[in-house]
Amino acid sequence: MASRTRGIDTRQRLMKELKAYNKEGENETFLYLRPVNDEDLLHWEAVLKGPAASPYEGGLWGLDIRIPSDYPYAPPTIHFTTKIAHPNIAWSTGEICSSLNNDWKPTVNLSGILAAIQLLLTVPDPDSPLNPDIAVLMRNGDLAGWESVVRYWTEEERWQGVRW
């Protein structure tokens, strides 16, 4: 265990998380969640599943996860590597609305934050948009238009990788 001033050992905790995810296997939130390579435990990738009963259902999106050295005291930085049409996710960069980080606690883990992102897909907030083009559809009440656009891009941009 790390020294008292340093806090806990980030890598040890990440290894525990990784072990738990490998053990858990298939789930509703992500296809996989793992370090990009064996050398760097602070750089992870994941494939998020679209939440059921939403226009995003059936979608798959790649996520890039950067973990700070003082994790879990500080939240990881996550962005989409697959394009997604969502008011709170930037189309070009995949940046996610920062409100996710405001509720960060060290007891949240990576799968927890992926669940939070999945939840964000079902409850978009068009009032603080990172993708104004999509947000304006919602704001104008054109929910049918918004849904069809989301379904189109969910299908069109679906993550095409292979599972291992």
Partner: protein, 432 residues
């Protein structure tokens, strides 16, 4: 107004032009035998040679026209025969102010040149035909026009004023009483004292005007200034009241924060960290070898134990229930929370109501606690962590429990000063 010297006594007249003097002016209020005040009813029709301070004074006299001048007859009706003349005032050594009726332009020019000849300091005209008692028309009015255009203003190097017709008539009439040429017939009616006075008494004119341009503007400016001043004072008062109200609210909120009655998270105070000495005061003990003294009191202390257990409900519910816990114990405490205790942990029944016993893993490093060897830190909410995990978090990141978000700061130890923004936020958070 003046009592000047032994040779000239206590008699004066005064014009205050353009609102500079009033009866409250000390010189006006002075006790004199004769006083004639024309407040704000003097018109300057030529400011030529006017002193900078706009103050002109001198003994009043009526300029004497040449006997062969036709104006002598024309103006005779407006000028009493025994009026004060230059000879009557020249001996006193004072500056002089001429007074004459404006009957025709030619005669006025004659008066002006006659006054110029004896070195007058100013000239006052009135129009005998004018019955208006208000301020006479200004210098551009056609009534003051002469045939030579404005040449007379240049030729006569002294200021020229105008007063109303009735005022001028009164004054020139009175001037005849102080001329040392009083007819004998009138003397009979006078007391001896007064007769003696008239020997040396002369009318003294004092004309105060502001600068030409300041004629009307000072009142407008003072009006504007008064409004601006009122607005300023009002806004200062309002500002002071507003600040006092804000201060009162801050003090109230500070009191409530210190008393622990405020939802710290709603105030966005979760960025607040915990001082090391407060962290050090939180219980630190070896896992499961805990304070036996707490145990006998707990069964009676359901009220305090229940909320703690409910707070951990989300986590505790995920743990498998343990049938073994529903066993023998004091009556009436077989509550659902007993089911939270994880099986296999060799905890004693006596302390199973403690929330800390439902936790087997440090939620930060995800390490399992080892019975009898792990040292744990218990937060006031009952959640336990490895001290090396929770202490840096509390001292560097946040004062809220990472699991239940309850503040770990004891009431009265909030090291913050309340701001207005916090008052507003708290106010809104209390609204439904």
């Amino acid at each position: 107004m003046a009592s000047r010297s032994d040779s000239v006594n206590k008699v004066a007249t005064l014009w205050a032009g353009s609102g500079q003097a009033s009866n409250a002016t000390s010189s006006v209020a002075e006790n004199v035998a004769y006083r004639f005040v024309l407040d704000r009813k003097v018109q300057t029709i030529s400011s030529n040679g006017m002193p900078d301070d706009g103050l002109v004074s001198g003994l009043l006299f009526v300029p004497t026209l040449e006997p062969h001048d036709p104006c002598y007859d024309i103006t005779a009706s407006s000028v009493p025969p025994n009026v004060t003349r230059y000879e009557d005032v020249s001996d006193f050594g004072y500056s002089l102010v001429g007074l004459a009726p404006w009957v025709t332009a030619e005669c006025s020019l004659s008066f002006l040149s006659a006054a110029q000849k004896v070195g007058t300091h100013a000239m006052i005209f009135f129009q005998p035909s004018d019955n208006e008692t208000d301020i006479p028309p200004d210098s551009n009015d056609s009534r003051w026009a002469t045939n030579d255009g404005d040449k007379w203003r240049m030729d006569n190097n002294y200021p020229v004023y105008a007063i109303s017709g009735p005022a001028g008539a009164t004054l020139i009439n009175d001037l005849s009483w102080y001329s040392n040429k009083t007819p004998d017939s009138n003397r009979d009616e006078w007391t001896e004292d007064f007769a003696l006075q008239t020997e040396t008494n002369r009318l003294f004119a004092r004309i105060e005007t502001g600068k030409e341009t300041e004629g009307a503007s000072p009142s407008i400016w003072s009006f504007v200034l008064a409004i601006a001043g009122t607005v300023l004072i009002l806004s200062i008062i309002l500002m002071i009241i507003y600040r006092l109200v804000l201060r009162k609210r801050r003090v109230q909120l500070q009191r409530r924060v210190n008393a622990g009655q405020v939802d710290i998270e709603a105030l966005a105070l979760n960025q607040m960290t915990v001082p090391q000495e407060v962290v050090n005061k939180m219980p630190l003990y070896t896992y499961l070898e805990i304070n036996p003294p707490a145990e006998p009191t707990l069964p009676q202390d359901n009220t305090s134990a229940n909320p703690i257990d409910h707070d951990s409900g989300d986590k505790a519910n995920s743990l498998p229930p343990n049938e073994n816990n529903h066993t023998q114990d004091e009556a009436g405490i077989q509550k659902p929370e007993a089911a939270m205790i994880k099986p296999g942990q060799n905890e004693s029944r006596r302390s199973k109501y403690r929330l800390s016993h439902t936790q087997t893993t440090c939620a930060i490093c995800l390490d399992d606690f080892v019975v009898g060897s792990s040292t744990v830190r218990e937060l006031p909410c009952g959640h336990i962590f490895d001290p090396e995990c929770i202490d840096p978090f509390l001292t560097r990141n946040c004062c809220l429990c990472p699991l239940c978000k309850k503040s770990v700061l004891p009431a009265g130890s909030y090291y913050i000063s309340v701001t207005n923004e916090m008052v507003n936020r708290e106010h809104h958070s209390r609204r439904p």
